[in-house]
């Protein structure tokens, strides 16, 4: 298990592979973000985006899925307080393949003795190497329990 004590500032991780499909973009948008450029190819073409694009919140959801699949199992994390400075930099389109690069920026000792906050900057990139979304997550890491290795 990787505890708060084991995390080092500057640590870099590359992970994830998420194939974005048209059906999933539309399904997410119908549920949570029913704006025309997320729902309909033709409406997307007429918008400033020039085609169907994923909801930014959907990109966030795909990001957290990649995080869960690659890191959460070995990390003593307990969710996140939130995030700062989220940027939606490029549209995400059907057929894009996303992956993540994360860097540990800062460790913050919290008020509670059993956990700390780790600020992790992540960049979600597409298959052309363009960054489509970036954010700084405030991840809650548990501290190593006394007496454990």
């Amino acid at each position: 298990m990787k505890y708060f004590e084991d995390v080092e500032v500057g640590e870099t991780m590359r992970f994830g592979r998420y194939e974005v499909t048209r059906d999933e973009i539309v399904e997410y948008a119908r549920q949570f973000d029913p704006q025309p450029f997320h729902l309909d190819e033709e409406a997307g073409r007429r918008s400033m985006f020039g085609g169907l694009i994923a909801s930014g919140w959907h990109t966030g959801a795909m990001f957290i899925r990649m995080v869960c699949d690659s890191m959460v199992a070995e990390a003593a994390t307990s969710g996140a307080m939130g995030f700062d400075d989220l940027k939606w930099l490029k549209p995400v389109r059907p057929g894009d393949v996303l992956s993540v690069e994360s860097v540990v920026r800062e460790k913050v000792e919290g008020r509670r003795p059993d956990r700390g906050i780790v600020k992790i900057e992540s960049r979600v990139g597409n298959q052309r190497g363009e960054v489509v979304m970036s954010l700084v997550s405030l991840v809650i890491y548990l501290r190593r329990p006394a007496g454990s290795a």
């Binding site: 997410y28 549920q31 949570f32 973000d33 029913p34 704006q35 450029f37 918008s47 400033m48 985006f49 909801s55 930014g56 919140w57 966030g60 959801a61 795909m62 957290i64 899925r65 869960c68 959460v72 307990s78 969710g79 996140a80 307080m81 939130g82 995030f83 700062d84 400075d85 989220l86 940027k87 939606w88």
Partner: protein
């Protein structure tokens, strides 16, 4: 149509209300955020949260849904967002919670290069106890009123 010019600093909007069910929490989490305290009621009871809680990304998605519905009601010429300054998940969201949204306009400024303007807002979601469960500060883009528009 409500354009960038029609949005004033200080204006507040109630975004409507919706309940969240255990089935919705499980379905979202299994697809996007499969951590035990979001996907497994028994594991959640043993976690620091003491019971099943919604993914924060699910709570944000519901807040987005309420925001989009409000924008469509007022026929806002909204055209997406470049990003968010901050998002804080302040309280757990649990099955059966009844969530309502509210927003306040903090700042507006025009684009120098495109016929759009920007609006910075605080957007919050509260539960049935009046507790703020998520607080976001973010920016939305709006189209400018056409020169011959009304």
């Amino acid at each position: 149509m409500r354009y960038w010019e029609d949005i004033d600093v200080g204006e507040t909007t109630a975004l409507g209300t919706r309940a969240i069910t255990e089935a919705e929490i499980l379905a979202f989490a299994r697809k996007y955020d499969p951590q035990p305290f979001h996907t497994d009621p028994e594991a959640a009871r043993r976690s620091i949260f003491g019971g099943l809680i919604a993914s924060g990304w699910h709570t944000c998605a519901l807040l987005m849904r309420l925001s989009v519905e409000a924008a469509q009601r007022e026929q806002a010429a909204a055209t997406g967002s470049p990003g968010l300054d901050s998002c804080r998940w302040l309280k757990p969201v649990r099955p059966g919670d009844v969530l309502s949204g509210r927003t306040e306009v903090l700042e507006t400024w025009p684009s120098r290069t495109k016929p759009i303007g920007f609006v910075r807002r605080r957007v919050e979601m509260l539960n049935q106890h009046g507790e703020i469960v998520v607080a976001i500060v973010g920016v939305t883009m709006y189209r400018r009123r056409p020169v011959d528009g009304r």
